[in-house]
């Protein structure tokens, strides 16, 4: 028996028929929707490579059953940039050499985007490191990742402030 769900994926609403209730969000993205940017590093919630945003919050796509997310708004790495304009976090990863092999990178980026939104780490590198510890990187690019998150946060805050001021001026 098929299960019908609706997901908005990277801004596009999609009606999906699942032939198996056990399909994870990760397998749905990778195997059925050909969105292979989200990576399967362990398939058991231990490495963070599959991190995506569900209704704006970072989750391990390998631990989430697709059916449990009916109606959710999903953002994957393919939707992080605005067309050809990279997300500030992506820009910062280049500037600070936050990646090597690139396999854990989609998860790191998505995790960082939500960490900045959460706003709980502040400007403290220790807290950024702690809050990013769910995303493993065997290449050991952590120093660059931490610097990138802090830098992106600064830039995004500056952009927000500028937008705010513009609004007030208007």
């Amino acid at each position: 028996m098929g299960l019908s769900i609706t997901l908005t994926i990277n801004g596009v609403p999609r009606s999906l028929m699942l032939d198996d209730p056990r399909v994870t969000l990760l397998d749905l993205l990778r195997e059925r929707l050909d969105l292979t940017g989200t990576k399967k590093g362990c398939d058991r919630g231990q490495c963070g490579a599959c991190t995506v945003l569900a209704d704006g919050r970072r989750i391990n796509a390998c631990l989430a059953l697709a059916v449990s997310l009916d109606g959710a708004d999903i953002l994957t790495i393919e939707g992080a940039a605005d067309g050809d304009t990279l997300h500030p976090v992506q820009v910062a990863f280049i500037a600070h050499d936050g990646l090597q092999c690139g396999f854990c990178t989609p998860g790191q980026i998505m995790s960082a985007i939500d960490l900045i939104r959460e706003g709980q780490a502040g400007d403290d590198p220790e807290r950024v490191r702690e809050a990013m510890s769910g995303n493993l990187c065997r290449c050991g690019a952590y120093a660059g990742i931490t610097a990138a998150v802090l830098d992106a946060q600064r830039r995004m805050r500056a952009d927000d402030d500028a937008a705010q001021q513009e609004k007030q001026a208007a």
């Binding site: 990576k39 992080a80 090597q100 690139g102 396999f103």
Partner: protein, 775 residues
């Protein structure tokens, strides 16, 4: 115009693709009509296979075929061979047990492949594997390296006595023994180099696609260079012309040595694809990776250092027992022998060195190269021994090293183990590192920490690495019709940033905008030969091939420009990407010239084109070296180690791209730190089960674990290659374990701890403190 100069921290050209989720890794590839393979693995460390029934598995819905070793043998498939010959001390050859892609009558480690199930979906393949009935007769397992050669230890291979694969030696034993006899002091230390599970974030995967028409396989696989695999698959396993195999390596998510080798799954997918007439994919899950990827290190080494009355090193002697696991992986015997012992003399002026290396089998996952491959193990021994000697002799740990370093004036320097160092200014590097970390001012920091109840220690290591790998490399440059310069290389990036460094080189040599250069790798059909990437060889090997090729391109370019501009070749000069008739303003740029000349040639005109391919012989390898200093604080109540400051001063020759090199050093230190403090691979001694078989049980470094790592370069150009570069990829993993452990032991020395084995987990540190207090 953006030039990609040398010695510039050019941002990596591969980054935007990888950041957008557009990287294409092996498991991202799906071919039409593709089937999925699943490997049924042994749940036992040692057992005889009494019988196997695949009937129910074959009848499972969706299952296309179930293969056992009988099917491989019936098709004439040969064993996976080990590519390293080795002579024992007595002149005989090393043991050479056969390794079929599927277990042949017995299983020898947990995870040993037993059957291969191919089905329409991954789920059906797993269901099928569950339905295979195997009757095992359990045997006692041997998973303890220290006891592997004891008389009563169970044998992994019935006909290999004492589980000894080889008993090998290097160096002048008589001269070494004589030096020990005259030594004023001898320091002895046994060190354990703990086993590492490599855990690239991208697990292994492959897709074999056999074409009945051409009789050829296309094998998509995450490798560190497909050329070796193609040779082994053709010659040894399938017994066909190796050119019947096309190896395509897409983006690779980390390798660290582990993806160099031929694995059973390469054989199984190729076999099944031919048998079934469809592409067959196999993708490892994380649990399988723990049980089937080659693991690293795993040595127990007794070292002895002979010192004269003035604290000068006379000789070094070691006896190393190296774990091979249950089977010999592709290069396994080379790691502790040729690779490891080659750096035993390190940067010091030993008169004699002798090493005896004994390779043994155990019922564990095969061991092979892991970042540094033998050289971290050797450096760890030497640097721990020197610290122990310094303490015993009452000499400052930095001073005893300085006193024994080979001076720059002695370069080139030949070591007692036969390496020829081309360059090195070890004392300068050491002193820079000491100054940076205020070595002299440490006692005050220790005293301050003591007030807070912390044990503070400082440790240094001076490492020397000998890079290595294939002895030649190829480059090809083709000017594409769309105005790009296409460069084909025989190395294989698994995350090191090769595309960026090669782009910089070609940009400088040909005067072409970096954005007009494309780097191609990883296809054995379009690139006929290649040495792959391993042993930190890529930049200096491929760099030489690129320089040889750009030289030919420019030589041809001058001739072509003389044809296009109608001038004598001697009157053509090349500068900044443009050929000019000397003393005139008549000029043509290299890309325009190349495209125009090829168009003319295509019309049948007899003109010179610019495309070229060259193979460079790599006559000498390189000896990167440097000083790591770690400062740690240990909490004596919990055993927790906090690395409060960490600095590396490196001589990697000229740094073509300091950004990329710094990233490589950071990564190496992260892995070395992981080995020193976090990563323990534990097998249950009774059952032989891997106890640390998941990322919840095996402690990979996380962002929170790592200290800030400060990296400085002192560039002593390599004298044996025109770029002056030394391989930087492994160096961080070589220098870091001894620096961290020397610091921890220094912190604990006041409470009576003189040695501690890796990993220095809170439990092991706490126990060491407790033992020392009780003693």
């Amino acid at each position: 115009m953006t030039k990609f100069g040398l010695a510039q921290p050019v941002r990596r050209v591969e980054d935007p693709r990888l950041l957008k989720g557009s990287g294409r890794y092996t498991d991202d590839i799906n071919l039409p009509g593709m089937l999925y393979g699943h490997v049924l693995r042994s749940p036992h460390a040692a057992a005889r296979i009494v019988s196997m029934d695949t009937t129910a598995a074959a009848a499972t819905p969706g299952v296309k075929a179930v293969y056992t070793v009988a099917d491989l043998k019936a098709a004439g498939i040969g064993p996976l061979v080990c590519a390293i010959p080795l002579k024992n001390r007595d002149g005989s050859d090393r043991a050479n047990p056969p390794r079929m892609a599927l277990a042949d009558g017995a299983v020898r480690h947990v995870g040993d492949p037993v059957a291969f199930v191919v089905a329409e979906t991954p789920q059906a393949a797993r269901d099928g594997a569950e339905a295979v009935a195997v009757d095992y007769d359990l045997l006692p397992a041997n998973t303890d390296l220290a006891a592997a050669s004891d008389a009563d230890t169970p044998l992994v291979w019935p006909d290999i006595a004492r589980n000894i694969c080889f008993d090998w030696e290097i160096g002048d034993k008589a001269a070494t023994d004589a030096a020990f006899a005259e030594a004023a002091h001898v320091t002895r230390l046994q060190v354990i180099n703990n086993r590492i599970v490599v855990n690239s974030m991208e697990a292994r995967a492959c897709i074999a696609d056999y074409s009945g028409e051409s009789g050829r396989w296309t094998l998509y696989a995450n490798t560190q260079g497909g050329w070796v695999l193609k040779q082994l698959l053709g010659q040894a396993v399938f017994k066909v012309d190796p050119n019947k195999f096309r190896l395509i390596t897409p983006d690779v998510g980390g390798g660290f040595g582990m993806k160099l080798f031929l694995y059973p799954e390469h054989v199984l997918t190729c076999f099944a694809s031919r048998a079934l007439g469809a592409p067959v994919k196999w993708a490892s899950d994380r649990g399988e990776a723990f049980l089937s990827d080659t693991q690293g290190r795993d040595n127990i080494t007794l070292g002895e250092l002979a010192v004269d009355k003035d604290g000068r090193f006379l000789a070094l002697r070691s006896r190393n027992v190296a774990n091979m696991g249950a089977y010999l992986s592709t290069f396994a015997p080379f790691i502790p022998t040729g690779a490891g012992t080659g750096v035993l003399a390190s940067v010091y002026g030993f008169k004699a060195v002798y090493a005896n290396v004994i390779g043994v089998f155990t019922n564990t996952v095969p061991v092979d190269a892991y970042r540094g491959a033998g050289r971290p193990e050797a450096n760890y021994l030497v640097e721990r021994l020197i610290d122990a000697a310094a303490v015993e002799l009452g000499i400052d740990r930095a001073e005893i090293r300085r006193r024994n370093m080979v001076p720059p004036s002695a370069m080139p320097h030949k070591t007692p183990v036969g390496k020829l160092y081309d360059s090195g200014d070890f004392v300068t590097v050491l002193d820079a590192a000491l100054a940076k970390m205020d070595w002299a001012g440490f006692p005050a920091r220790r005293a301050e920490a003591a007030k807070r109840g912390k044990r503070r220690g400082i440790g240094l290591s001076y490492y020397l690495e000998a890079t290595g790998g294939a002895p030649s490399e190829r480059a090809e440059i083709r000017f594409a019709d769309d105005g790009f310069v296409d460069v084909f290389v025989g190395t294989q990036s698994t995350g090191q940033g090769h595309e960026t460094a090669y782009t910089q080189l070609v940009s400088v040599e040909l005067g072409v905008d970096g954005e007009k250069i494309r780097i191609f790798q990883g296809d054995t059909d379009t690139i006929p030969t290649g040495g792959g990437t391993g042993g930190a060889r890529s930049l200096y090997s491929e760099g030489q091939a690129i320089l040889a090729t750009t030289a030919v391109v420019l030589e041809r370019g001058k001739k072509a420009a003389s044809e296009a501009l109608e001038a004598a070749p001697a009157d053509i000069v090349f500068e900044d990407g443009v050929f000019t008739i000397v003393g005139t303003d008549r000029a043509i740029d290299i890309i325009g010239l190349a495209v125009a000349q090829r168009a003319r040639a295509a019309k049948g005109e007899d003109v010179t084109t610019l495309d070229a391919a060259e193979v460079a012989e790599i006559k000498a390898h390189t000896f990167p070296n440097g000083c790591h200093i770690a400062e740690v604080e240990v909490d004596p109540d919990t055993g927790t180690v906090d690395v409060v400051r960490y600095a590396v001063t490196d001589d990697v020759g000229r740094a073509i791209n300091p950004l990329v090199v710094r990233g490589q050093v950071h990564g190496g230190v992260a892995q070395g730190f992981g080995q020193a403090v976090l990563e323990r691979t534990a097998y249950d001694s009774g059952s032989g089960q891997l106890l640390t078989g998941s990322l919840m049980d095996y402690c990979l470094p996380r962002a929170y674990d790592l200290p800030d790592i400060e990296v400085d370069f002192i560039e002593v150009p390599c004298a044996s290659n025109p770029l002056g570069v030394k391989g930087a990829g492994e160096a961080g993993a070589v220098g870091s374990p001894p620096a961290v452990m020397n610091a921890i032991v220094d912190a604990l020395r006041p409470v009576g701890v003189t040695h501690l084995d890796m990993p220095a987990t809170p439990e092991s540190v706490w126990q060491a403190i407790s033992r020392a207090k009780a003693a």
